[in-house]
Amino acid sequence: MKLRAGAAGVCALTLTALWTGVVMADGSGDPAAVKNQDGKYYDKQGNPTYSIKADGTVDWYTYSGFIRYSSECLRCHGPDGLGSSYAPALVDSLKTLSYSDFLGVVAGGKKAVNTAQDLVMPSFGTDKNVMCVADDIYVYLRARSNGAIGRGRPDKHEAIPAAAKKWQDTCFGP
């Protein structure tokens, strides 16, 4: 029994090490969902996160994020967050960017204009088509960045929660 306990201890250690690796690759820390509030999932730090069921069904925000990403961000950042000849791959960026970093860049824009490159991201702070769904886009990219979902349109998704519908109507206006 001692032996088995020892093995379990080693196992736990290995898992922790692996887990730490995963944590380090997400700018917002451990992406595991610990709370479901009206169909929106949160990690233990209170950051929005994704929830993917065993059969591949994704939460509404992940799905909505795919739709909105593809409409608002793809034009520069390429399909599925993979980057392009024009702008960086956000699946990589989110490995270091935290949730609040992400919101800051989206709202305020970003400039890297120097002798080597002219990278400029606009400020979307006044663009409802982006700001109203910034959480959705974040959740989607977080799922992509952690390898929780693959490329393309998620096959199955949870229905739009009443809270999300209400938020969209309020935020976008009539």
């Binding site: 000849s85 002219d118 400029v120 606009p122 006044t126 088509n129």
Partner: protein, 600 residues
């Protein structure tokens, strides 16, 4: 009346000066264009055929082509367009920051002068799909630059000093400059970009002497803005009537209606008409803008001097797929059904190749130039039909219902062909067309408009057309019959403008970076060379010191660099199909370079 005669005297003097000036302006540009050694216009001539009579390089020896010299532009972004060559000097422009170089052909491209405009980099992110620039124009001793921030600048061709400069549009509202300016007679024509930002787009003519605006014609709006004459302007033979555009929009939507004009206008000096296409209506969500949305997606024939349209033809009424109608208008004279006709041919994003009578605007041919095209079953050619000239939309490929993923639509939004222009050889009487072979799923949804912010309203995913892995073809097309004569498959979309030559050789570039030479008659590959980066520029040719050269800009980017960098996936391939298609980023990286070829 003394005053009168005096005025007349002065006037006559003035007229004489003016005439001399405009003749000079005229002949300067036309003389340069008439010399076959030069490449003095963006597409070589005012018909946009990109057909060179040079034939030192021919089907027999093109296989021996070698690199003569190269030039790094110092800019990384996508390099569209082609350089100009006038005499001993080559002129080229880079993507943002739009550096203009004058290179000395007597010294392997030594820099004679360099002009770098100061532009606010905030224009970069409002340029949909990369900071490209499609080239310069020449006339009246000046080089014309259309900057990203819409400024049109006239530079002294000898010194690079600014002669005059004028602001064409407002980048804070999403209006940008990507197209080449075009010099016809004594005018410089400039179109704008910004269809994805809800810009009310326009074509504007400036005086070549001083940059004074002569006229501006909007793509949509009341007649005094479109310059349409309700009685004299016709569509398919009939006068369009009063406010023909306004009637096809709900409320004030035309004010953010798009219809941009960043393509390649051509010019018929005998008819004094210019031809170009207007782009997609904004937004991409069709249910949000009911009506035909005229005159977006339209072929325009406007009088060069007044801007008043002689005729218009809307190809895709009420666009539902972002099939921008901006592609080049190529002018040819060919015999159709036993009759010699003046024609305009156009390969639209919507996958149809059109041939019209360019005098009257009569529709003669409208056929698919990629068999994959499925959104329409064809254009109604029956003159007595109520739907004459309209494409019949296949119901299952309509995207009218929002919040639904409409699948399997061919072509994708980038079109069967995008801006990269085709060439035409009068010898073979064939068009050489770089094409995309890509389909899409399209999911529109409601968006709100904020000035200067993207106004898109659709999500789309793209994938190669069914039945193969090739995302492009380079085809030869008979514009008289609307038939593909030969078709060379390409791994990626062909995003490079074609060149046809009297040597029987046709040239184009590929996204991997190959310059390719093929037999004009058969499409057989005769030569290829891998340049340092993917080619989205147009191949050009010139003669210097008795030798023929072929040149092309490399530098991957544009929509192709964005859409294809990561490689496409097929959302309908089912479980187990991994990755699927080639990723452009595995073949090429950024970097602007000119490569010049010649025979040993």
């Amino acid at each position: 009346m003394r005053c009168f005669s005096l005025t007349v005297g002065i006037c006559m003097g003035l007229v004489a000066t003016l005439t001399a000036a405009s003749v000079y302006a005229d002949s300067d540009e036309e003389k340069a264009a008439a010399n076959p050694a030069n490449w003095a216009m963006p597409r070589l001539n005012n018909s946009l055929t990109a057909y060179s009579t040079l034939k030192q390089i021919n089907t027999g020896n093109v296989g021996k082509l070698q690199v003569a010299w190269t030039f790094s532009t110092g800019v990384l972004r996508g390099h569209e367009g082609a350089p100009l060559v006038i005499g001993d000097v080559m002129y080229l422009v880079t993507p943002f920051p739009n550096i203009v170089y004058a290179l000395d052909l007597n010294h392997d491209g030594k820099i004679i002068w360099k002009y770098e405009p100061k532009q606010d980099p905030n224009v970069i992110p409002v340029m949909c799909c990369d900071t490209v620039n499609r080239g310069l124009s020449f006339g009246d001793g000046k080089i014309f630059l259309h900057q990203a921030d819409t400024t049109l600048v006239a530079l002294d061709a000898k010194t690079g000093k600014v002669v005059w400069s004028v602001k064409d549009g407002d980048p804070t509202k999403g209006e940008t400059g990507t197209s080449a300016p075009f010099v016809y007679k004594d005018k410089v024509l400039v179109g704008d970009s910004g269809g994805e930002f809800g810009v009310q787009c326009h074509m504007t003519a400036y005086d070549i002497k001083d940059g004074k605006r002569v006229w501006r014609g909007y793509s949509e709006g009341p007649d005094d803005q479109t310059l349409i004459d309700p009685e004299k302007t016709t569509s398919l033979g009939k006068p369009v009537g009063k406010d023909s555009s306004l009637k096809t929009w709900q409320g004030d939507q035309w004010k953010i209606g798009g219809g941009c004009t960043w393509g390649w206008p051509s010019y018929d000096p005998q008819l004094n008409l210019i031809y170009w296409g207007s782009g997609n209506p904004s937004t991409w969500n069709p249910s949000q803008r009911p009506g035909d949305n005229k005159w977006s997606m339209t072929i325009w024939a406007r009088d060069l001097d007044t801007g008043v349209p002689k005729w218009v033809y809307q190809m895709t009424p009420h666009d539902q797929w972002d099939y921008d109608g901006v592609n080049e208008m190529i002018l040819t004279d060919q015999r159709i059904n036993g009759r010699e006709r003046k024609l305009v041919s156009h390969f639209d994003r919507n996958g149809l190749g059109y041939t019209l009578d360019r005098v009257t605007g009569e529709l003669l041919v409208a056929q698919k130039y990629d068999p994959a095209v499925n959104w329409t079953s064809g254009v109604d050619m029956n003159k007595n039909s109520a739907n004459y000239g309209r494409p019949t939309v296949v119901e299952r490929y309509s995207t009218e219902t929002p919040d639904v993923n409409h699948t399997g639509i061919c072509p994708a939004a980038l079109g069967t062909k995008d801006e990269q222009p085709a060439a035409y050889s009068p010898e073979t009487q064939l068009f050489y067309v770089p094409t995309n072979h890509v389909c899409m799923d399209y999911e529109p949804f409601k968006v709100s408009y904020t000035a200067g912010q993207p106004y898109v309203g659709a999500t789309l995913s793209m994938y190669p057309a069914p039945g193969g892995n090739n995302m492009g073809n380079f085809i030869a097309w008979d514009g008289k019959t609307g038939k593909i004569v030969w078709s060379d498959p390409e791994l990626f979309s062909v995003w490079s403008g074609a060149l046809a030559t009297a040597g029987g050789v046709v040239f184009y570039g590929t996204l991997e970076g190959y310059l390719k030479a093929v037999d004009a008659k058969t499409g057989k590959l005769l030569y290829k060379f891998k340049t340092p980066s993917g080619i989205i520029g147009n191949v050009m040719t010139y003669e210097h010191g008795g030798k023929q050269y072929v040149a092309v800009l490399s530098g991957v980017g544009g929509w192709a660099g964005i859409g294809l960098a990561a490689g496409l996936t097929d959302p309908h391939a089912g479980l187990g199909a991994v990755g699927g298609y080639a990723a452009l980023s595995n073949y090429t990286a950024l970097g602007g370079q000119l490569t010049v070829f010649t025979l040993p």
